[in-house]
């Protein structure tokens, strides 16, 4: 099981701040392609950075069960 966290515009478009996905040993890129395609948020995902367990990660990171993946749309703090 992998938990996916969504924020800001991504959260609004998907309609949820958190998804639980029954997968393991897949890359973030594969997770995006196979599980997030249905939400029609490709462009926002393309612009987003990604974090695994609260640290920025690369798209080819392999996800283990229990990992928390966060898609971080362009930030606007300050």
């Amino acid at each position: 099981m992998i938990q996916v966290l969504l924020f800001a515009g991504l959260k609004d478009k998907v309609g949820s701040s958190s998804l639980r996905i029954k997968e393991e040993n897949i890359t973030i890129e594969e997770l995006k392609r196979t599980h997030l395609g249905i939400y029609g948020v490709e462009e926002l995902l393309q612009q987003s950075m990604v974090a695994v367990n609260e640290e920025y990660a690369e798209m080819d990171t392999i996800l283990k069960t229990g990992d928390v993946v966060a898609f971080v749309p362009p930030v606007s703090g300050g």
């Binding site: 612009q47 950075m49 966060a70 749309p73 930030v75 300050g78």
Partner: protein, 153 residues
């Protein structure tokens, strides 16, 4: 006392100052970001800030480490607000102390620029005629391939 924090409560700049003041310091530079009412003539009613709080705190701490790498004698404290902010309320407060003024000025500028690059916080504008999540205000090329712009030396 934590040097870096996210809060739903109003921020006072003194909260940051008291965390960096020390006998070795000869200067403290502060930066305050506040909710702007008019942007190019368009009126904002209020701002809403959302964050991935535990990661945002880690990234603020990381900015503090980057500052210490670049200016070893600087000490930093940063607070960022989340939730709904009325006009002119403080969104972010930064204080940097150092023995001399130059490092303090440079480091506080560095801190706010890095916040806008790497800290997972999002601002939603609420106007009279709608709302919008703001993003990519620095128009960084680095965003478009989903990679993190590295900070540092």
């Amino acid at each position: 006392m934590r040097q870096y924090w996210m809060t739903k409560d109003p921020i006072q700049i003194n909260d940051c100052i008291e965390r960096v003041i020390r006998p070795e310091a000869g200067a403290i530079s502060t930066f305050i970001g506040i909710a702007r009412e008019f942007t190019e003539g368009k009126r904002t009613l209020y701002l809403e800030y959302e964050a991935y709080v535990p990661m945002a705190v880690k990234q603020l701490e990381r900015i503090g480490r980057e500052i210490q790498d670049k200016w070893p004698e600087a000490r930093t404290s940063i607070a960022h607000r989340i939730g709904d902010l009325g006009i002119s309320e403080i969104a972010v407060a930064i204080a940097v102390s150092s023995p001399h003024r130059d490092e303090a000025f440079q480091a506080s500028r560095y801190a706010i620029e890095r916040i806008k690059e790497i800290v997972p916080i999002w601002k939603k504008e609420h106007w009279e005629d709608g709302t919008k999540w703001m993003g990519d205000q620095k128009e960084q090329v680095a965003y478009h391939d989903g990679k993190l712009k590295r900070g540092g030396k």
